[in-house]
């Protein structure tokens, strides 16, 4: 028994040792300008959009009180298991989002009114960093003179300046992004976002003072480490970071489709203005 345990430990140690140098020795294939080739279609495989912080599975994104605890709100009841929320390990580095006290209260309220407040429900542009971990792929188009992100969700786009044009002249949904390489890491700083976008479906939010610094580092032919540090002195007590893996889509999967969801929310937004409105369940909010 002792010998078996020792052998097992030895094998584990050896395989860990074998892994460590392999990862650090891996050098990303060079792309345009001699930089790592990040061209391609990428997507996360995590639950970050359901909540950046660690969360257990729950019955629905919109809940109401039931006789023995929360049950799905009537507006989403018919979705059954399709509308339930899977558990998420969380992507925040450290102990959750360091909200100021008022801001944590607001986040909790946001979450309780998710259905009427989350911009994703209305197909609004996602903002940064949420665009990255929405459950849709995005394509990076890169060469030595240009860097452009095209997102499947809502047809959002981001032109990333490789020369800093100075402060953003106006706030916008996707903000103004400036990119540069630090070694093999692509570093993108985004400012000039207004306060309308959210960070996930759990009511996490920011103000117009948000500054996001993203760091994309290729870690294998098919993966990149993605980190984003959010700094917003109006809402948080200190800068904080999310970390996750981006996966490269390959073969037939590596085709960006269009999710022009504006069309799909017309009944929601304009249905009551039809000449002959259809039956609808009015929101309880």
């Amino acid at each position: 028994m002792r010998r078996t345990l020792f052998a097992l430990l030895a094998v584990t140690a050896l395989s860990a040792a074998a892994r460590a140098p392999a990862e650090s020795a891996w050098v990303a294939p060079r792309g345009p300008g001699g930089k790592p080739d990040v061209n391609g279609t990428w997507q996360v495989m995590n639950r970050a959009n359901d909540g950046l912080e660690t969360h257990a599975a729950r019955a629905a994104r919109a809940l109401r009180d039931g006789p023995h605890g929360p049950v799905p709100a009537k507006e989403v009841l018919a979705l059954g298991a399709v509308g339930a929320v899977p558990a998420g390990l969380g992507v925040v580095v450290g102990d959750g989002i360091p909200y100021q006290a008022w801001a944590r209260k607001k986040q909790t309220e946001n979450q309780a009114h998710w259905l009427s407040r989350d911009p994703e429900v209305k197909c609004y542009l996602p903002g940064i960093p949420r665009a990255t971990y929405l459950p849709y792929p995005f394509q990076i188009l890169y060469n030595e003179d240009a860097l452009f992100f095209a997102y499947e969700y809502a047809g959002a786009v981001r032109n990333i300046h490789l020369t800093d044009p100075g402060p953003a002249p106006i706030d916008s949904w996707m903000g103004q992004s400036v990119g540069k390489w630090e070694g093999d890491t692509l570093v993108i700083e985004t400012t000039g976002q207004h306060d309308q976008s959210w960070l996930d479906r759990a009511g996490n939010f920011h103000s117009e003072a948000l500054r996001v610094v993203e760091r994309l580092t290729p870690t294998s032919p098919l993966t990149m480490r993605y980190e984003a540090t959010l700094e917003d002195a109006k809402v948080y007590t200190r800068p904080w970071t999310i970390r996750m893996t981006l996966y490269r889509l390959v073969g037939d999967d590596a085709q960006l489709q269009q999710f022009n969801c504006v069309e799909f929310v017309e009944e929601l937004i304009y249905g009551h203005l039809r000449k002959q409105p259809l039956d609808r369940i009015e929101s309880s909010e």
């Binding site: 030595e144 047809g155 032109n159 504006v262 069309e263 039809r274």
Partner: protein, 319 residues
């Protein structure tokens, strides 16, 4: 006189020489470099106005037309003083919001009066069926019973008219395009409505039930020229109307576009539309894409779309 002729000759020679000497740049991965921010804003309409016969006009006539159009736009801002009576037309944008360009399009040194070059009369060669489809769709527009019957531009699904195309045609504003290239792709960001046309180089058209907005585009380089072929259009995009053109195209129409960089500041944009369901012949057009000043900003249309709400609510009030 002789001196004037000599000067002209020198100028002409200089022009020919510079055109020959200018070699379009290539990107590190070998593709001709079309990158940058471009505009197709021009007062040259898609179809030639009835009162103008020739495709090409001399400079004096060009200036006269440009002044005429400038005066027409200036008149938009000439709002009479006093109150409007209830029920009167409140008008639309003033010219602050418009950016249709001020100049006629110049192609190969010629001042053009229509984007269409073929048929030679400069008019869309609608077949009876095509014309009927167009009229039918205009007829539906007279009411605002449901959001689905309104223009795509009003609904913020894509830009007005054929702004995103293809063919990409100028409209009243936001006539800007950004081209970004990467190995295997040319992407054209259409400012209105932040639509990225991702053109797959050397690829085959997709088939099946997914019919993309702005169609399915594949491309190739023929020498310095990017040739893009697009078909398999989204059915809602058949009816493309703006204040500057009214195009009806079937979902299986085939559009071929040719982008040739002529200088640091100009791309020649040529296109043909093959749709024998709706047109008597293949029709063709050409216009310049000129280097745009400044950069493209976010065109967040849907997020602030109070217009569609007001169009529908106004109609309900009328009911």
């Amino acid at each position: 006189m002789i001196r004037a002729a000599a000067l002209l000759l020198v100028l002409l020679l200089a022009r020919v020489t510079s055109a020959e000497e200018w070699s379009p740049p290539r990107l590190a991965f070998g593709d001709p470099d079309l990158q940058g921010t471009w505009t197709n804003a021009t007062i040259t309409p898609l179809e030639r106005p009835d009162e103008i016969e020739a495709l090409v006009v001399p400079p004096e006539e060009g200036h006269r037309i440009e002044k005429l159009v400038a005066d027409l736009y200036a008149a938009v801002d000439d709002v009479p003083a006093g109150k409007l009576e209830a029920g009167e037309d409140v008008g639309g944008y003033n010219t602050f919001w418009m950016d249709p360009g001020k100049r006629l399009a110049v192609v190969r040194g010629e001042i053009r009066t229509s984007i269409i070059t073929d048929p030679p009369d400069g008019e869309l060669p609608y077949s009876l069926r095509g014309r009927a489809q167009l009229v039918k769709r205009f007829w539906r527009l007279r009411k605002a019973d449901d959001p689905e019957t309104r223009l795509l531009g009003e609904r913020c699904l894509v830009g007005f008219g054929s702004s995103g195309g293809p063919p990409m045609l100028p409209v009243l504003y936001n006539n800007n395009y950004q081209i970004v290239q990467s190995p295997g792709f040319v992407t054209i960001l259409v400012e209105m409505n932040h639509n990225a046309r991702i053109i797959r180089l050397g690829a085959q058209h997709r088939q099946g039930p997914i019919r993309p907005w702005l169609g399915d585009s594949v491309g190739r380089f023929e020498g310095q020229t990017l040739v893009v072929e697009t078909t398999h259009f989204h059915p809602a995009q058949s009816f493309r109307v703006s204040l500057t053109h009214a195009v009806y195209m079937s979902t299986d129409a085939k559009v071929v576009e040719r982008f040739t960089r002529l200088s640091a500041k100009e791309i020649l944009y040529e296109f043909s539309v093959e749709d024998l369901e709706n047109y008597r012949q293949i029709w063709k057009g050409e216009m310049p894409l000129l280097a745009a000043e400044g950069r493209i900003f976010e065109y967040a249309c849907h997020e602030g779309n109070y217009s569609l709400t007001n169009i529908l609510a106004g109609e309900r009030a009328k009911d």
